[in-house]
C-alpha cells in the first residue's frame, strides 16, 4: 500500500525516470497466476490437450473397448482411398459455396438497405431473431415448411404453377435446401456485422460524392465496397469457418441422406465415431477438417487482405 502512495506522489512531483519507477511498482505475479489458474486449467485441458490427443488418435486404431493401437499412417491412407470421404469433401464444399454465396449477397444487401433506410432497433432486432433459435429449431421448422405433401412452401410452389419439390428427399435439392436454411438463420446476424462495418465509413465521403452528383450505384462501387473490404473479409472468414462445420441442420433433417448427398465431413466424422466406433479414423477425418480450415483461413486472409484497411 505504502509503495503505491509513494509512487503517486513521486510521479506527481518529479517527471519519472521510467525504468526505476517500474521496478518499484508492486509485482502482481502471484495474484495474477492465481486469477488465471481456472482459465488456464480450461485452456490446457479442453483446448490444447485435446488438440494434441486428437492428432495422436488419428494415428491409432481404437474402438473404445480395447486399448488404442498405433497404426502409423493407415488411417490417412484409408482416407485418401475412401470414396465416401471425397464425396463428403465435395458435399461440404458445395454446401459452403451455396451457403456463403447467397448469405453474403443477401446480408450485404440487407445491411446497405438498413444503412439507407433505417437504423431502427426494431428492424435490427427482427432480422436477428432467427439467429437466436438453435440450428435444430431452424432445421425442424423448415423441415415442416418444405414437407413434400403438407408443407406450405410446396403449397406456394403449386399456387404459382410449379411442381412440388422434395426439398429434403431429392439428391439434387438436399444440399441447397440445407444451405438455405442456414442462410435463413445467419443472414440477419451477418447483415448486422456488415452494418457495423458500414457505420464505420465516414459519412462525409458520401456527402462529398453526392455533391459531385454521384449515383447510388456509383457510390456503392466507389466508396462502400472498397472501404468495407476489410470487414467483409473478416465476416467471410468467420462465416466460412462456421459453414464448414455444419452438422446440426443436417443431423436432424436428412441425417446425411438421401444416399450420401448431405453426408458432409462433420456428419461423416460423427458417423464413424458414434455409429462405427472407429475413433482412430474419425480423428484422422477431424485432422483433415482442421487442415482444410487452416488453409481456407489463410487463403481467405491473403485474398481479402482482411488485416489492412483502405480508410487512411
Amino acid at each position: 500500500m505504502a509503495i503505491t502512495t509513494q509512487n503517486l506522489t513521486r510521479q506527481g512531483a518529479v517527471p519519472p525516470p521510467a525504468t526505476p519507477t517500474r521496478n518499484k511498482q508492486p509485482d502482481d505475479t502471484k495474484l495474477a497466476l492465481l486469477l488465471i489458474l481456472p482459465a488456464t486449467i480450461g485452456l490446457v485441458t479442453f483446448y490444447f490437450w485435446p488438440l494434441l490427443r486428437g492428432i495422436w488418435l488419428s494415428f491409432t486404431s481404437w474402438d473404445l473397448l480395447s486399448a488404442a493401437k498405433f497404426v502409423g499412417a493407415d488411417n490417412y491412407v484409408r482416407m485418401v482411398q475412401d470414396p465416401v470421404f471425397w464425396n463428403a469433401i465435395g458435399a461440404t464444399l458445395y454446401f459452403v459455396a451455396v451457403n456463403i454465396g447467397i448469405q453474403t449477397i443477401v446480408a450485404l444487401g440487407l445491411a446497405v438497405l438498413m444503412q439507407r433506410l433505417t437504423g431502427s432497433i426494431l428492424v435490427r432486432s427482427l432480422i436477428l431473431t432467427p439467429f437466436l433459435v438453435s440450428n435444430v429449431v431452424a432445421a425442424l421448422v423448415f423441415f415442416w415448411i418444405l414437407d413434400f405433401q403438407l408443407g406450405i412452401g410446396n403449397q406456394m410452389l403449386e399456387w404459382i404453377g410449379l411442381d412440388r419439390i422434395g426439398f429434403f428427399t431429392s439428391e439434387d435439392w438436399a444440399i441447397p435446401t440445407v444451405a438455405l436454411v442456414n442462410v435463413w438463420r445467419h443472414m440477419g446476424y451477418t447483415a448486422l456485422l456488415i452494418f457495423a462495418g458500414l457505420q464505420a465509413i465516414p459519412a462525409s465521403l458520401y456527402e462529398a460524392a453526392r455533391v459531385d452528383g454521384a449515383s447510388e450505384i456509383r457510390m456503392f462501387k466507389a466508396i462502400t465496397v472498397p472501404l468495407l473490404r476489410p470487414i467483409l473479409g473478416l465476416v467471410l472468414i468467420i462465416s466460412v469457418i462456421g459453414s464448414f462445420q455444419v452438422f446440426d441442420t443436417i443431423s436432424v433433417t436428412t441425417g446425411g441422406g438421401p444416399v450420401n448427398a448431405t453426408r458432409v465431413l462433420q456428419v461423416y466424422i460423427y458417423d464413424n465415431a458414434f455409429a462405427q466406433f472407429d475413433f482412430g479414423y474419425a480423428s484422422a477425418l477431424s485432422v483433415a477438417m482442421l487442415a482444410i480450415l487452416m488453409i481456407v483461413t489463410f487463403v481467405q486472409y491473403r485474398i481479402t487482405r482482411a488485416g489492412q484497411t483502405d480508410l487512411n
Partner: protein
Amino acid sequence: MTQLTNAPSTTAATQPGDLAVPAARNEPSVRRRKTIHPGRIVAWIVMIILLVITIFPFYWMLRTALSSNGALSANAASLLPVDFSWGGFQRVFGLQSIDDAIADGGSGAQLDFWRYLLNSVIVATGITVCQVFFSALAAYAFSRLKWRFRNIAFGVFLMSLMVPVIFTLLPNFLLIKQLGLIDTMLGIMLPSLFMAPFAIFFLRQFFLNVPLEVEEAALVDGASKIRVFFSVIVPMSAAPIATISILTYMTAWNDYFWPLMVSYTDESRVMTVALGAFSAQSPQGGPDWAGLMAATLVAATPMIILFVCFAKRIVNSIGFSGIK
C-alpha cells in the same frame, strides 16, 4: 450535427445535392412527398419481403402448434390454425393420456419436456455463471495487473481462438468418458466451465477502459487488488458483463452437437437434443407436426423472451463480437 450525421441514411435516395432535405424531414406531407424517390419505395419493398421471410417461420410454428394433426393434412394451405387445439403443447408436456396422444397423431412415447427444460436451464446457467466469472478473473489479470509474462500468456490464450471447437469435441468426449461423466449434466458443462477465449478477450477490452484514477483511489483507500476487482472493476463493467453473459447463455442453450455426444438418457438430455429425438419418432401416418412445432416453440421461447428483454444490448454487441 445530429441532422448532418443522420442525413446520409435518411436521404440517401433523394436527388443529388438536395440540401433542403434535412429540414424537410420535420415538415408535413407536401414537401416531404417530393423527396420520395421510386428507388426508395422499391428498397422498402425488398426490405419488407426480407423481414417477412425472417419472421414467417416463427408464425408458422405457432400456427401449426395450435392446429390438430388430422386437420393439418386436409388444410395444408390455411394461413390460420386449423381445428384449433392445445393438443400439441399437451403432448409436449405429457398432459395428454397416451391413448389421446396416439389418436391425435402423436407417437405415444412420453418425452418429459419439463425435465429437458430444467436440464437446459441448469446447463446454460451453470456454464454462464462459471465461464463468465473465471473469464472475468483472467481478463482482470490480463488488463489491470502488472506481471512479467502477461503478454506472452495472453498470446497463448489468444491462440486458442484458432482451435476449431469442432476439433476438440472427439478428444473431449473421450476425456469426459474417462472421467465417468458421460450422461451427466456436469459432463456437458465441464469443457465450457473454465473459460471461453472470446469471453476473456471481450472482457479484457472493457476492463482496459476503466479509468486508472478510479482504481488508484480505491488502492489508496487501502483496498487490495482483489477487492478492487469486485468493488470497482466489476460494477463499472456491469454492461459488458451482462452482454457476454447473455451471449454465453444463448450459445449454451442452443448447442446441439456436444450434448448429443454426451447425453443418452433423460438424466442429462437438454432441449435441443430432445427436439432431435422427438422428431425422430415418427408415429404411423407421418410425423406429429403439431407436437413437433409446439416443442420447437417451447425450445425457442426462453431465447425469445431473453431477446425481448435485452434486444438492444444484444443487437449492439454484434458489431463487436463479430469483428473481434
